[in-house]
């Protein structure tokens, strides 16, 4: 996905050879181990992010996918300047994030599901005023942006209620407004829809898409809800055990990692045993769903139509959730390759300190 650099310009986000290692104290249970740890402290080295690299262009929305503990949030925290990388290079809008320069912080934001930048006991409008002063925003421009976002997210009178009286979804919406009042050019969104109902998720997705279009903002998004990713991201980066498994179009993911298709068949009369045609995934109210290899799908479909009285037949890619699940479960860098997870697994190096 990388492209050659041109003088005076660069991708919004550039990452090369980025690593983050944590040293975690380890101690066995029991009194003996407790005394032993007094004189010889053992730590375990956890490579949370292990030599990753990618570039993201201005205006792109990229989904950052991976199971819990894969290294997504650690990466976002390094890119937002919260964490110092152990090694490697990260540039966001030309800034080294770990330097946390004011000019950088004014151009980016990070929204975390559990972040609370709002004053709990006060209406959100008071917190917005504080944000205006902290970011040194021009009052007229600030008010215009604030009112625009309040309207886009249909917040209405909610901004006049103490934050503690808002529901989780309402709170998330005002959090997002607060995080974007300075109109950042780069957004790191870590599970922005976590715990929200479907309607609220959709509202926030629409807002992110509108913001991206309106301000040509770059968005790197993590979410466990594939609906978020499918609605917003053409490109996804899949990370597992701290290493990147895939960086490309979302649609490619199925082709690359799941060499199967699902064929749904409804027969005109009754139900038949179709196991001779492929793996039967489900059989429900006369409709049988088969999993077959991608290459064999046309031939299996032809045979089904030829052999049986078919009322309806569909050929589909497997749901993206299933593909992702298979990628994570296998930990493969490439289908058919030697298990990449064995190489990518967090190392457990015992050190004495």
């Amino acid at each position: 996905m990388s492209s050659p650099r041109t003088p005076g310009s660069q991708p919004a986000i550039h990452v090369a050879g980025l690593r983050k290692t944590f040293h975690v104290p380890v101690r066995e249970a029991g009194l003996k181990a407790a005394f032993k740890s007094l004189v010889r402290r053992e730590t375990r080295e956890i490579r949370a992010v292990d030599d990753i690299g990618f570039e993201i262009g201005a205006g792109e929305i990229v989904g950052f996918l991976g199971p819990n503990g894969a290294g997504k949030t650690t990466t976002l925290k390094m890119l937002s300047g919260l964490l110092y990388p152990t090694s490697g290079e990260a540039l966001v809008l030309g800034h080294v994030p770990s330097r946390r320069e004011g000019a950088f912080l004014r151009r980016m934001t990070m929204v975390m599901g559990n972040r609370n930048q709002l004053q709990w006991d006060l209406p959100a409008l008071d917190s917005f005023e504080l944000i205006r002063a902290i970011y040194r925003l021009q009052p007229v421009d600030f008010r215009r942006t604030r009112d625009e976002f309040i309207e886009m997210l249909d917040l209405g009178e909610l901004v006049n209620k103490p934050v503690r009286n808002l529901s989780l979804g309402e709170r998330m919406k005002v959090e997002i407004v607060g995080a974007l009042l300075h109109r950042p050019q780069v957004l790191f969104l870590d599970e922005p829809t976590l715990g929200l109902d479907v309607t609220m998720q959709k509202r926030i997705r629409t807002f992110i898409a509108d913001y991206n279009r309106r301000y040509d903002a770059t968005v790197l998004l993590t979410s466990h809800y594939m609906a978020d990713v499918q609605a917003l991201c053409r490109r996804v980066i899949v990370i597992h055990h701290g290493r990147i498994l895939h960086d490309g179009e979302l649609a490619e993911l199925g082709v690359r990692f799941d060499a199967t298709k699902t064929i749904g068949v409804t027969l005109k009369e009754g139900v038949a045993d179709l196991s001779a045609y492929g793996d039967v995934i489900s059989s429900d109210e006369g409709r049988v769903t088969l999993r077959v290899s991608r290459a064999a799908a046309p031939e299996v479909a032809t045979r089904l139509l030829r052999d049986l009285q078919v009322a309806d037949l569909t050929i589909e890619d497997p749901p993206i959730e299933d593909v992702i699940e298979r990628v994570f479960a296998s930990g493969h860098g490439e289908p058919g390759e030697e298990d990449a997870a064995a190489n990518a697994a967090p190392s457990a190096v015992i050190e004495q300190r």
Binding site: T6, I134, R136
Partner: protein, 289 residues
């Protein structure tokens, strides 16, 4: 890969206040932070009042003990009469209120719970939030302190005669004390970046402060070596000096020297905070936030 961005050190300057208005920007920021802190604390005025009442217990104990000793020693101890002790410890209650800072224990929680992350994402060095939050809180609690001081005055009959310069220096010194103590305990709190459970270290410093600041006992009642040691440490300028500025009949030279010492410790503290922060923040693991 689609768009590329021009490298710029400024973030669309037209949307931000110009650098020329830097002082106005800081003033606006601090006034807004004060306003938010006052709004937050008015909300908890009852809790604040009970906190204030609880805080008075410590000086009242000192006051009763020293007044009793003074009476048993023919009316005074080390030049302090019972009425002067009363004046010292009643002013003590205000100074104590003024020099409450973000506790080093708060750093443990801030780091362990990840509360620092939200502050780090904003273009403002976090110490400003702490200074403004607690300064706003003080503005609320000073109002609550007035009736408590009135009751203590009625109960203990303080002897107090002050000159305008004493009041003026006191008014500056209580804020100077607040800044000295903020810098000192910010540096101490940042030890939490390297290791959790730093309570014993804090306790050691608190003990030194208790003895060498004038908090437990006026410094003039301490042995001479302790007084000389106190002159070299920052604690005296956070407690003893502001109180004595008002009740100690200090000379004009001593008053100005005291303010100068506060300034020196504020500068040392600011440099210290910056240096410790530079190394400490690299250890932040941003867990839970």
């Amino acid at each position: 890969m689609t768009g590329r961005v021009a490298i710029s050190s400024e973030a669309e300057p037209d949307r931000f206040l110009p650098r020329a208005g830097l002082i106005r920007g800081w003033l606006d920021l601090y006034l807004t932070m004060f306003r938010i802190a006052i709004l937050n604390n008015i909300h908890y005025r009852v809790a604040n009042y009970f906190y204030m009442i609880g805080m008075v217990a410590e000086p009242v104990i000192y006051l009763v003990v020293w007044s009793t000793i003074a009476r048993q020693h023919g009316g005074q101890v080390g030049g302090f009469t019972a009425g002067q002790f009363a004046a010292y410890y009643i002013v003590w209650t205000l100074v104590r209120q003024m020099n409450i800072i973000f506790t080093p224990y708060g750093w443990e929680e801030r780091i362990r719970q990840g509360g620092l992350s939200a502050m780090l994402l904003q273009p403002l060095f976090p110490i400003h939030r702490d200074i403004a939050d607690l300064a706003g809180w003080k503005l609320v609690t000073i109002v609550l302190w007035l009736p408590i001081a009135a009751v203590l005055t009625l109960l203990f009959s303080p002897e107090l005669s002050v000159r305008p310069i004493d009041v003026a220096v006191f008014a500056i010194a209580i804020w100077g004390a607040y800044l000295v103590r903020t810098m000192l305990y910010w540096m101490l709190g940042m030890v939490s970046f390297w290791t959790t459970r730093v309570g014993p270290i804090f306790q050691l410093v608190f003990a030194a402060e208790l003895l060498l600041s004038g908090r437990l006992v006026p410094l003039s009642l301490m042995p001479e070596w302790a007084q000389r040691l106190a002159d070299l440490l920052p604690f005296k300028w956070t407690f003893g000096f502001p109180i004595e500025a008002l009740v100690g009949h200090l000379t004009e030279g001593a008053l100005l020297r005291g303010l100068a010492m506060q300034l020196v410790w504020i500068v040392i503290g600011t440099i210290g905070v910056r240096i410790v922060w530079h190394f400490a923040i690299r250890h932040y693991s941003a867990v839970n936030g």
